[in-house]
Symmetry: D5
């Protein structure tokens, strides 16, 4: 099985931690599923930590350091700040897989808004009080289906 890796030539502006973590992951030949199981987090969240898009708790850092055989001190230093999110993908995304997700927003954006507004009123689905997961289904004809679930708290607009 192939593993997701990071080519720093292509991503020179990801965090310093990204280089450290991906290189250790490659050396250990671990999948995000295995790492996520080890640190007790969802695998999308785990990958997001690697890409500098989610914050690791001190326990996550300890756990990653021990699993990946990275000295905990420097890793802690690299991960101690607050993530500077949103810099990994340039929009519109050129990567075909990520573009498909973008296209779903582009095509169904107003349909989601209409349905959400009718169900919940005036507000938004939070992307912060939020979790997501990826699942794999195989149908009776052997086709694989990817299922992505987005779950966000509904925030009504304040009246003022």
């Amino acid at each position: 099985m192939s593993l997701a890796t990071l080519d720093t030539t292509q991503h020179p502006h990801l965090t310093a931690a990204a280089a450290t973590l991906f290189s250790a992951k490659a050396a250990k030949q671990l999948s995000f599923e295995q790492i996520a199981n080890h640190i007790g987090r969802n695998e999308v969240a785990t990958a997001a930590i690697f890409y500098g898009q989610a914050k690791a708790s001190p326990e996550d850092i300890q756990s990653l350091a021990s699993l990946l055989h990275i000295p905990a001190g420097p890793l802690e230093e690299q991960l101690s700040g607050f993530p500077d999110r949103g810099r990994s993908v340039e929009m519109p995304p050129r990567e075909p897989l990520i573009y498909r997700l973008y296209e779903i927003v582009q095509n169904y954006g107003y349909a989601y808004k209409a349905v959400l507004n009718e169900k919940f009123g005036d507000g938004i689905m939070s992307a912060i009080s939020f979790s997501t997961k990826v699942e794999k289904e195989t149908d009776s004809e052997g086709n694989n289906w990817a299922v992505i679930t987005l779950r966000g708290k509904w925030l009504p607009y304040s009246r003022f």
Copy 2:
């Protein structure tokens, strides 16, 4: 309860059918959930038909016409072509609700890619062989949560 409506002053370039359908929906005071139940489709798909982002079958058109009291002939004419998708939202989206979905792609794009690639190999989740739904959950503290599910066929890259 408020209903999603269409202000054609704000959206002058949506399809001619959009104006027809939204105006009938407002007159009938129907929600997308009610319309979707009537025509036997998912409510996101139903809203997408209204916004010109999904194709209505001849049966859908008959059913919409009878529910909304629109003459079937002109509606058929307006809906007979192939949707010219992707024109309802200008990217990046400025609408806060739609922006939150865009932000999820921006922040978690590479995390999704990494996890999907490790689970399925080299390929993409289709946005065409695809369905989606919106659900409402209320937690024990009375908070509402929106749950959006994206389900797409996995397409492996052809080897050539």
Copy 3:
């Protein structure tokens, strides 16, 4: 005193309600402060309703209709949907007053982030669970100062 007006030649894509409301406001020669006092809302929120950036409650609509001598029925119809926010200003803003606000975000964005993160942890200040107000101060030398207050709920990132 001059009043804020709307020139629909310049803003052809604001909501239909915007034209109705601004034209009645001009006819009645009312300031947003007066209208806000009448409907019992903050004046920024009141102006935001006029520009289609905030939702009016059924009571707001009644109150606006009676103050501005607009037939309540059509106004209700125009305002019954969910606001399609974010379409009034094209970014970067070219209007000098609005640009100054944009410039504050551009210059102090990371400083705000650093200070907020250290004070609250990893998260964001909500722009939805949010209120704002504008005040006028005059200093001892007779200079006027505008004071804008932004108050948003702190949303910590969910751990998942």
Copy 4:
């Protein structure tokens, strides 16, 4: 408590001083609040100095050097010029926290303009004769609220 840090891999074009200051701050484990108290400035202004968005006076430099144990000479050299502001955030901001501030301008821009114009006449709120602060409030239900105050001199347009 986590502290705001700087990952120069992600921000290669911030000032040379930014790297010096953030690295000393991390070594000393000081928050912006502590540093601000020490140099007698507001904490947003202090963070802005770190990001190269505000000018430090000679006294600020001395004070920063002694608190952070940085040799004063080189720091003075790095900070002696005039800030080249506006280069830390690329607009539209991709960082979710900063985006929320941008969204406030995008949504309420014309509402602010209308209210300010009616209150002050034709002019702008200065972003130069300007100060800002961040405060934390906790409501009776234990929710935290961030309060950002923007205070700028009102500049009327000259008649010529």
Copy 5:
């Protein structure tokens, strides 16, 4: 001599007043210099009023109405609001004359900043507390030179 006119086919989104004023100016065959002399303002400011980029005082409106034989009432209505500046030129400007001014900013921007900062300290030249004028010089060889003067109040950055 040719006069500056407005082709509303080309500028559909200028103010309603712009159409009124330019059409009266063309009918009366008046130059901006003549109009400026009549209303007692600088000719750039006068042209800016026509393009909706500067505010006319009630006296200006009376004076314009009588000179241009426009009914004062409707003109007052059209000009009573606050200018929505910055919408007449799309940047980068495509008009060669306006582009040359833009190019001056592009080429000499940092030189101006360096010289102004050394002369005045940390701050900006206001574009609000500001006036400008255009003059014509003819040198000894008969060449014409345009001289544009920009005069703005110096605003030092507040210390906070």
Copy 6:
């Protein structure tokens, strides 16, 4: 007094000469006014040479080399080509001081065009056969005013 300096971390793509010149200027603690007086040029032009936006004559190079104690040979080599102008500022400018100049073009562009066309006919004010200067005025209340003069040859469009 502070002097304008260059932080090459922020401006990695200015000319090689810019780094040489600014670093010598900082070492010698010279203002652009002093350097301009020494080489017999206007101070904006002098700063423009430093930023690679104007050509230095062989005499200018000698004069700069001797004033700044830079070996003339390498400086000559660095400055011997033709300036590649326009690369120092990215448009729209994010630096507040430079943005104010840009805003003047954005707001008054068509007013300048109208007035210049009426005064000179169909043509442009050259930005090449062009000079500019910066002056400081102090009014009776002690306020400082920056005065920027732009003087360009008028070029009528050729008839062909």
Copy 7:
């Protein structure tokens, strides 16, 4: 032979004169060469007048009116102002023929600059003191070649 025409559905923002002139040209079935010969101007300049990119003299207007059987008064009114150039092509041009010209600038831009600078010194080729023409050549194998000549005055940068 086909003639160049104007489809105002495609070009809604060209000048009012453009519609008048192109429609008369189509009715009279005249080529630009024939019109140019009649009014005594180059055919590119003639086409540029039609597209609102060049100024017609009073004599040109008379001559066009009589050739095209358009009432001179309204035409004079439409053409009496100063051209607002640069609005006919959106850059980058999408029209393949115009794109080829753009591509020549994109590919050979620095080569032209280098050769022109070495031949003429520091300066530019004017696009205002400028004429251009189009010629047709047929080589010995019967291939047609288009030859476009650009001739502009050399403007050296002023020393100041």
Copy 8:
């Protein structure tokens, strides 16, 4: 006389050959005219080879190597591939000289198209089967004029 040079600080992404060639040209103090004469090509084409915008034949490479005293082997290696054209100028060009050429396309684009279409039918002037040259003319008053000739094969659209 000044020569065109390359400042690799400003153009870090030109080809490796560009650095080699320009540095040898500077050392030898040769103009493009001299080099062009030596290798038997047009000087624009020669400069285009230096900027990586045209292909050098094996004979050109030998000839350049011997004239510029560069070892032929490495030069051959650097020049052996196919040019990756179009990367030297970022559009819109910010360099004033190159911008003037761009402006000619922007202003006269449709005029060229109209005239070329009427002369040649439906098609384009090739930018590939194409040559160009730069000439200098001096008129009777001593003014210099730059003349650029573009000569491209006419390609009619295929009928299919």
Copy 9:
């Protein structure tokens, strides 16, 4: 079977002919294949005529007029000019089907260039001396495959 139609609300700037032709096609219920067969052209070329992207010969116009029952005179007038190509799709394309074609260029662009250069030398594949066709294949498992063939003349770069 559904037919391709044109919704002029969505495409207000297509040619006047597009509206005429599509509306007749809908009335006659003809596919592009049927129309192409009738006029003796490829169906992509036929659709391109409808979208204003290809030129119709006088015979094509006659043939279209008789098949679609449109008066030949007005159609001739609408189609007599030269197509103003490239305005039907805004790039990047938002329509998913068209985006897939764009993505092929984005992903395989350099691969095509490398292979074409090695096969043909330095040059381009013409998009003018060019034809294209669409075919349908069904594989043994009943899956449909779309096959698009692009055939363009190879144009070598001229040596000059």
Copy 10:
């Protein structure tokens, strides 16, 4: 014959593998056709592997390593991840050859959509379940023609 090469100065952000592979290809003087024959893949796919746009199987890697005399270990490491596609070409493409392909999409995009929709119904041609090839034809007059075939699975939109 010239071979396609990679100049990493021009493409600093291609994958690390790209540099390795292209440099070995140049040393071995192999064309993509030769390499493709050796590894048993299409030559466009082979070039796409070099540019990081397609995934190499373990067998491909072995085969490339042995043909190009690269140690298999490091190559495997560089190629073991999942391609991050779409980063080799910046859109719109500036390279003339690649631009021609882009232009085909821009001009014929809607024609392809119309024809494909009528032939296949509502859906897209996959760019993932996809192969492509390049062929060379020479016509009876000795002209070369490039033929590019795109073959993608037809994906109908799911009904939901």
